[in-house]
């Protein structure tokens, strides 16, 4: 694998915890890597196998479910 490989990560974040935390981090001016793409979901229970598959299908290298 090439040294500069940066995986594209899709992060499905629960509105009430992980997404709120990311939001708070934002208002505290903390940064996170730009290859992590945050997607807000009402609850991680809403995350369906199709969300994971479609993300991979469209080029994501990894998926992160946070909640």
């Amino acid at each position: 694998m090439n040294e500069t490989f940066e995986p594209q990560i899709v992060a499905y974040c629960c509105n009430y915890c992980a997404y709120a935390a990311a939001d708070l981090a934002g208002s505290m001016r903390l940064s996170y890597p730009s290859n992590v793409k945050v997607i807000q979901v009402p609850c991680t229970g809403r995350v369906d196998i199709l969300y994971l598959l479609r993300a991979i299908e469209d080029g994501a290298d990894g998926i992160y479910v946070a909640g």
Partner: protein
């Protein structure tokens, strides 16, 4: 309902390896109920096949359709207008579906994505069990509506055999001996005498032994 399992990804990929554009057809009947060939499973398989093909560095186009029933030409007909746009059709119905598609579209290549298993029902979420073998002449009224044809490993009509132990069948600890259940129920209801009745041989010609079967309802035939 008819219960099926999805074939392995390897087997499905092998069937469609030469094609670039396929139509993946689900069925809203039995296979939707047993979570193996409905709209959701069509979407999931479509995505998995596309990802798998991408890993090989090639592209696969999949169009998804889920029709009311594949065992009914009336619904199969809905695919006719589009069917020639594809290299092949992959059916997610029971074994009846791909055959109806093959009959309706003789010039198209049709493949099954499922292994069709049995007639049964869900005994708990995610677990289905066989209950009927479609023998064509139902005899379960002799056995308190418990079917020894489908549920006894030997289809005995005068069981249990010597392999029945502690309520289990000799083939596996996981399989209940249906004859143990039948006898127990007869004893509980004080009707054990029923099992002493002499009966004529079962006519197996109405089962698969008589060749492919057909049912004709004169009043419905035009």
């Amino acid at each position: 309902m008819i219960v099926a399992d999805r074939k392995s990804l390897d087997e499905i990929q092998e069937m469609i390896k030469d094609y670039k554009k396929i139509l993946l057809v689900g069925c809203k009947g039995c296979v939707t109920v047993c979570n193996v060939g409905g709209m959701k499973e069509v979407q999931v398989l479509s995505s998995i096949l596309k990802i798998a093909r991408k890993k090989e560095g090639r592209e696969l186009q999949v169009e998804e359709r889920t029709i009311e029933r594949q065992c009914d030409f009336e619904y199969v007909e809905q695919l006719r207008a589009d069917c020639d746009r594809f290299d092949a059709i992959l059916s997610m119905a029971c074994g009846v579906g791909p055959q109806f598609l093959a009959e309706a579209f003789p010039s198209q290549k049709i493949y099954p994505a499922l292994d069709t298993k049995f007639f049964g029902g869900a005994v708990q979420h995610g677990i289905w069990e066989e209950r009927c073998a479609g023998c064509g002449t139902c005899v379960i009224h002799f056995y308190d509506s418990l079917c020894p044809i489908a549920r006894c490993a030997k289809s005995l009509q005068h069981g249990p055999c010597g392999g029945s132990a502690n309520g289990k069948c000799e083939i596996s600890e996981d399989v209940d001996c249906i004859w143990d259940i039948i006898v127990r129920k007869k004893m509980e209801q004080e009707r054990l005498e029923d099992l002493r009745t002499y009966r004529a041989f079962k006519d197996w010609r109405s089962a698969r032994d008589g060749g492919p079967r057909k049912s004709i309802r004169e009043e419905l035939v035009q």
